[in-house]
């Protein structure tokens, strides 16, 4: 056989080539750790306690590793948050590691940006190039021209990357993605009760009033909250009423679903407040709480003055008025208000259905008012201030440089008056505009600028333009729509392959400390970006004091009170979670009386205008005199020096401010808003573009389902197998008038463009609304998300693995990036569209 001989010749000739180093070694040469696995012992299963990251809830989980491979993810029974439960998304996390399309190496663009031509490069080459560029900017005194934009970066990842690495580098041009999430809700909470995040105490409540939250399917603290709600509904027969434009599964599990016109929840909430005040239902718990509320400009107003101010403000907000606006019958509003106010403790909950609108800021403030008037604030069974762990961590060694910043993260001047969580969805527009400067390096991490924001076509156009963005770097485990437009792609570890300490809040008001650890090592050349930051910092000459995230987490465990005593890092690695068994649930934090020595501490002064005691030395004031003359409200960062709030003769810890110089009252009368020319008390403002809608126009609303997160889980086979297409929900009444039948292909047109999808005609959505979920319509992100073939060439994904072909439509193509004029929240639920059969 000729060819056989030729092969042998070739083999002999190949002896001359330097082909040293096959991949394999014999057992004797193995590095430490390799001998842990024996093929003779059979399947060995190891349980590794770690933490989920599929959604922002970050639930403690256990990864079960069999033969070096993650076989399944289960709940963590020792968690006081989840109580051992787990959602489908968390279980589908197995697919993240095993995604056949994941990135295994660093890649550098070689063709035109976005042309899809790449070259695999080594980490050394990637970091040499990146450090070279970063170093040049820093040396030139322009660290701010390095923009870092993250989507989700929490806990130790945030501390190590942002507070240590980026601070050490000296850039404050840092974008987040809270404005496309629920930043508006947080601003409204900062204005009323200080630092954001409301926990809903379902374990002790007697009544749940829901404005636009789908917490049984999607929530920032999903499993922890959802299973407690289910328990309240099923075991204790707690009544629940849901106001929503859509019969979400949360609405469906409620005792009553009240369809409401899109963006009018604020009118209903205000009318409920009116009923409570008019009928004296605030008496009792509400009246007690009034003492801690600010309803007038004067800080020390009497109860009567407060009530008079309230009555005057609310007089016109009757249920009959709200009926005209919301479409909800006045009698329904009245009876629910009475039920809610008479069911102490009761909890009013809210989310994007209510707040991701033009008027969302005051809808959330009106909801806070309803909770306050009924005494359901920070009480067992009510709307509580979040409790989370307080980790200590290694700080940046030495002195941080004075950071610089491009003014491109808070939107255009005047676009939002109080954007305390920034306007991430305006960043690309601001780069295009250029008047506030442009970054030379735009790097994004765990973020999808193209797909996750509105105005998808514009996002693509800007990211592609090398004149607008000279150099872009994407850090991601997967090739998504945004990575496709980067110059450099760095393969990040999935959350199941990295270290973290974690800090999500607890639904039971007791802090839980927990960690994330790798269940299996990252494959290929994948690296946790935080580890890469440690390397980069060394190359740039400002070492971070730790060499890896693992070291950062280990040191944090030894620094953190409670965790340290429990056994520190070793304990956390074997148990995953820790909480203080003696800790009592934390309620009524505002009632604590401030000790006299705290009031007489160095730098503490009292502010007559607000009744706030504050330490000017922790603020931007240069002297006690300057602090006194400017006053608490008008001194920059005065909130950072907040000590307590004088009410009567006592100074209480009150509602500690964050991000804005709010007093320690529960502020329903907001001086901060007043000074910005906005209504001081919660007020209903109609959504401008909804006021003159034509007969054939509908309001587009968006939503999430239980088995997917917005954009990052569609590569999970198990999840996309369950949910991969998203026909648009239309009420039969709307469908009839448009001449559309169930299943018809339709065209949904906004001022931004056209989305082609199919109609699902269902009474589960209010007339006048069209509901399209997120999650679908990926055109990258691997075979399961995108519907593309697995590989180049002819082979398709086998049917038995991916049997579906329709991967749905993405509504963000036709949703503009707009902002709530107060807090900057992306107005996901306001887009006016026309619908026609195609």
């Amino acid at each position: 056989m000729t060819q056989r001989r030729d092969f042998l010749k070739l083999g002999a000739a190949a002896a001359g080539a330097s082909l040293t180093g096959g991949a394999l070694v014999s057992a004797a040469e193995l590095k430490k750790g390799g001998e842990d696995f024996s093929p003779l012992s059979g399947a060995e299963r190891t349980a590794v306690p770690t933490t989920c990251w599929q959604c922002v809830s970050r639930c403690p989980v256990i990864g079960y590793v069999e033969n070096g491979r993650l076989a399944k993810i289960g709940g963590q029974p020792a968690s006081i948050r989840t109580e051992g439960l787990l959602c489908a998304k968390a279980q589908g996390g197995v697919n993240q590691i095993h995604d056949p399309d994941r990135l295994l190496y660093p890649f550098k663009r070689v063709g035109e940006r976005g042309s899809g031509q790449w070259k695999r490069i080594s980490w050394d080459e990637a970091l040499t190039e990146l450090a070279g560029r970063l170093g040049k900017l820093r040396e030139a005194g322009h660290p701010e021209k390095f923009m870092f934009h993250y989507g989700r970066m929490k806990a130790s990842s945030s501390k190590l990357i942002k507070s240590v690495f980026l601070a050490g580098y000296g850039t404050k041009t840092i974008g987040n993605h809270t404005s496309i999430c629920e930043g508006g809700k947080w601003t409204a909470q900062e204005l009323t009760w200080g630092s954001h995040y409301d926990n809903w105490d379902f374990d002790h409540t007697r009544y749940v009033l829901n404005f636009g939250s789908n917490c049984l399917e999607a929530h920032t603290n999903h499993t922890s909250v959802a299973h407690r709600l289910v328990r309240a509904l099923a075991d204790r027969r707690v009544k629940m009423v849901t106001f929503d434009v859509r019969l979400s599964n949360t609405a469906a599990k409620s005792d009553q679903w009240v369809p409401v016109r899109s963006g009018t929840d604020g009118a209903v909430a205000l009318a409920m407040c009116q009923v409570v005040v008019e009928q004296g239902l605030y008496r009792g718990k509400g009246e007690e709480f009034l003492k801690f509320c600010k309803f007038t400009a004067a800080p020390q107003a009497s109860q009567k003055e407060k009530l008079d101010a309230l009555k005057t403000h609310l007089a016109s907000y009757t249920p009959e008025w709200a009926e005209k606006i919301s479409g909800v019958p006045a009698e329904t509003i009245r009876s629910i208000a009475i039920e809610f106010a008479s069911s102490y403790p009761a909890v009013v909950i809210s989310y994007r259905g209510a707040v991701a609108h033009y008027n969302g800021n005051d809808t959330e403030r009106a909801i806070q008012m309803l909770a306050a008037l009924t005494g359901n604030i920070d009480n067992p069974g009510g709307r509580c201030k979040a409790v989370g762990p307080k980790w200590k961590y290694p700080k940046f060694p030495g002195k941080k440089p004075k950071a610089k910043k491009l003014k491109i993260v808070d939107g255009f001047p005047g676009q939002a008056k109080l954007p305390t969580h920034h306007l991430s969805h305006q960043v690309l527009k601001m780069i295009k505009d250029g008047r506030n400067g442009r970054p030379d390096i735009y790097m994004w991490y765990c973020y999808q600028p193209v797909y996750s924001n509105g105005d998808v076509a514009e996002n693509i156009e800007i990211l592609k333009d090398e004149k607008l963005i000279p150099y872009s770097v994407c850090i991601t485990p997967f090739y998504d729509e945004s990575a496709a437009l980067a110059d450099l792609i760095l393969p990040d570890a999935t959350y199941l392959e990295r270290w973290d300490w974690e800090d999500m809040v607890s639904p039971n008001q007791v802090a839980e400390y927990y960690i994330r650890q790798p269940v299996t090592p990252p494959p290929g050349e994948v690296r946790d970006f935080a580890d890469v930051c440690c390397d980069l910092a060394k190359r740039l000459g400002f070492p971070l004091g730790v060499d890896s995230k693992e070291e950062f987490v280990r040191k944090s465990c030894e620094l953190t009170h409670g965790v340290k005593e429990a056994g520190g890092f070793a304990y956390m690695k074997s148990h995953g979670v820790w909480h203080d068994p003696a800790a009592k649930p934390k309620y009524y934090s505002y009632r604590k009386v401030v000790k006299p020595e705290a009031l007489s501490a160095d730098g503490v002064v009292s502010d007559a205008a607000t009744g706030v005691y504050w330490n000017w030395k922790k603020t931007k004031a240069k002297s006690a005199d300057e602090a006194r003359s400017k006053g608490y409200t008008h001194t920059k960062n005065a909130y950072k020096g907040y000590v307590g709030q004088q009410i009567g003769d006592t100074v209480y810890s009150g509602f500690k401010p964050d991000k804005v110089n709010k007093s320690g009252y529960f502020e329903l009368y907001s001086t901060i808003m007043e000074e910005k020319g906005l209504p001081a008390l919660p007020t209903y403002v109609p959504i401008p573009e909804h006021q003159a809608m034509k007969d054939n126009e509908l309001v587009l609303t968006t939503y999430k389902v239980a088995v997917q997160v917005h954009s990052r889980t569609q590569n999970c086979k198990w999840l996309s197998e369950i949910y991969h297409q998203n026909p648009a929900w239309l009420n039969p009444e709307s469908a009839r008038s448009l001449g559309v039948s169930d299943g018809d292909p339709i065209r949904v047109t906004s001022e931004r463009g056209v989305l082609e999808t199919r109609a699902q005609v269902t009474p589960a959505v209010a007339p006048g609304v069209i509901a399209i979920s997120f999650h679908c319509g990926h055109w990258e992100y691997g075979r399961y998300a995108s519907g593309k073939h697995a590989a180049t060439g002819s082979a398709e994904v086998p049917d038995e693995v991916k049997w579906w072909t329709d991967n749905g439509a993405h509504p963000n193509w036709i949703i503009p990036n707009r902002a709530d004029p107060i807090n900057g929240q992306q107005r996901w639920m306001d887009t006016v569209v026309q619908v026609s059969k195609r």
Binding site: F7, G16, S18, G22, A23, S38, P39, K119, Y479
Partner: protein
Amino acid sequence: MDATEARGNLYRLLARCYREAPDATFLQQLETPPLSKALALVGMDLQETLSGLPREHRLETLAVEHTRLFAGPGKHISPHESVYLSDGSELIGSTTHQVRRFMESADLFLPVNSVYLPDHLSVELDFMADLCAREGTKTLQSEFLKQHLGRWIPAFCEQVCEETELPFYRALAELTRNFIASEQELLANQTTG
């Protein structure tokens, strides 16, 4: 040089080709006799396959094509047996573990910090090279071809041939396919005979 050693060398050569794109040194070795002549004999005439490429761009072009074919990002032909074969199409799938076990049963281990998974084509080829270097492994070689390499190489190579825009990789894929076929035949005869 005996035949087994020559076979081992060829496995090693192919492993190198699939692991990473050639660097300057490796390409020069490929182009230098006697290796270049031997390659030409089995259909991989480098003068011919590289003739269309301007000299100064050769390495870059080969690297970009290697990336596009075998690494991504995005659509590519996965050089992992567990992904390529349809039993789940998973990275680090059950096949990966089977391959690892097979290798470990021959007392060959992949270090924990290995960039490549056990079922990466280059590692499977390296494994065959390692077996060739040992006496008394004919049955193992035959079994590994039967259970693993031989199961996916033909389709994989065919797909590379269809997809690649460079004669170099078409020739490499053809060489690989033909060599593995010849190996299967050889080992079948030797182990049954």
